[in-house]
Symmetry: C2
Subunit: 233 residues, 2 copies
């Protein structure tokens, strides 16, 4: 009997926003795995730290952040091999994943390498989008409205078209595209309805009107746009 | 001192998918409020049932499901009044909300009526979209891909345009539009990549290839489309 691969969604950062199921999966795991930037503390491990039992076997997957994908792919290849070794001994492996594993989550890189060979379970997590709208105290999407989740690197014309077509917009991975995205929203007359959120639910959380957002912004930042006034009344 | 209004996201249905923060908010509340269809058990209360302490004051908001919005608006007006009475005595009120309060959540109707007068806190929840992709065991959105969240009543041409433009699509509130949505996806050559999910994470959960989905479908059903093969590798 091989073990089970468990993708554990940790939510946006506040450990209190883990689900009961995730907390139990971490607390009872004998093997955990998580990604880390080389030489730095893993953000995923930091979220889960208080729940990890002493003596647990920890598989650290050091993923370099590079322009080319090959070094990251090689890191996930190696991580998947080490996880497979643990699964082959019959132990379950809980893979810690920020946010939701299947919503831009790093877990997908391991899932793609292992799910055809091993039993797999995914525990969904609170997304950064839900966390950000709660932190803003601003309803995101209601009734029959449309939400577009976009990524910062998208071309400006395409971005403008999609922002116009949706009632609510979440732009993730803002990073070095912050200024350009602000220009797009300004041209659309929407800059006052857009808010900038950095590291939602963490102690370092920052919320700013988009006009005051840093450029470049950190990678883990987001812009939310809610159009239409009180459509839920 | 008036009390605090707390919108508590309960997640998709499995009580284990509540967050630690939500569970604590419910367990320590002296007043809870929740919507119910007249004459039926509240789905929100059912999710939270094991955590509700005996003797808690419960405000039931009976919301009729009608074509016109006025009866529902009147129900939320009345519910907001009763919640305000409790807040005015200095008690916090935890409002139970399926899924995520700001993601198509009923809580927004109360928030719109009370947030300008009372302190308010929102605890985000696992969305039905995250729950469904976990239940399917199918990654939803990766890298710089785009996710479109759409509602079933959308016009077919518009639906087709948006499905084509996104890498991942979640169509909520499928209900009586199931057959028409299937036709749209068939015309786009995407019917085999689309999955139908009903009541994700509950004992009654059903997952079907879209071709076998019921028409009409229940209101709480969803269609997920993931295009592109292994874009995360």
């Amino acid at each position: 009997m091989t073990g089970k691969l468990i993708g554990v969604g940790l939510g946006p950062g506040d450990p209190d926003l883990m689900t009961l199921k995730a907390a139990r999966a971490i607390g009872t795991a004998s093997v955990i795995a998580y990604p880390a930037l080389p030489g730095t503390e893993s953000f995923a491990r930091r979220i889960a730290a208080d729940l990890i039992a002493p003596g647990v076997h920890e598989i650290v997957i050091e993923v370099p952040m590079t322009k080319h994908r090959e070094p990251a792919q090689a890191a996930y290849d190696l991580g998947a091999e080490r996880i497979a070794e643990a699964l082959d001994t019959g132990q379950d492996v809980a893979v810690l994943c920020e946010g939701d594993p299947f919503f831009y989550g790093s877990f997908m890189y391991l899932f793609a390498r292992l799910a055809d060979r091993y039993d797999c379970d995914v525990i969904p997590g609170i997304t950064s989008v839900s966390a950000a709208s709660a932190a803003l105290g601003q309803p995101l999407v209601a009734r029959n409205d449309t939400l577009a989740v976009l990524a910062g690197p998208m071309d400006s014309d395409e971005l403008a078209k999609r922002i116009e077509a949706a009632q609510a917009v979440a732009i993730l991975k803002v990073g070095r595209h912050a200024g350009r995205i602000r220009d797009v929203l300004t041209a659309l007359g929407l800059v006052d309805q857009a808010r900038y959120i950095e590291r939602a639910t963490l102690a370092e959380q920052r919320i700013l009107p988009l006009a005051d957002a840093p450029d470049p912004a950190p990678y883990f930042s987001m812009i939310l746009v809610a159009k239409g006034s009180d459509p839920w009344l």
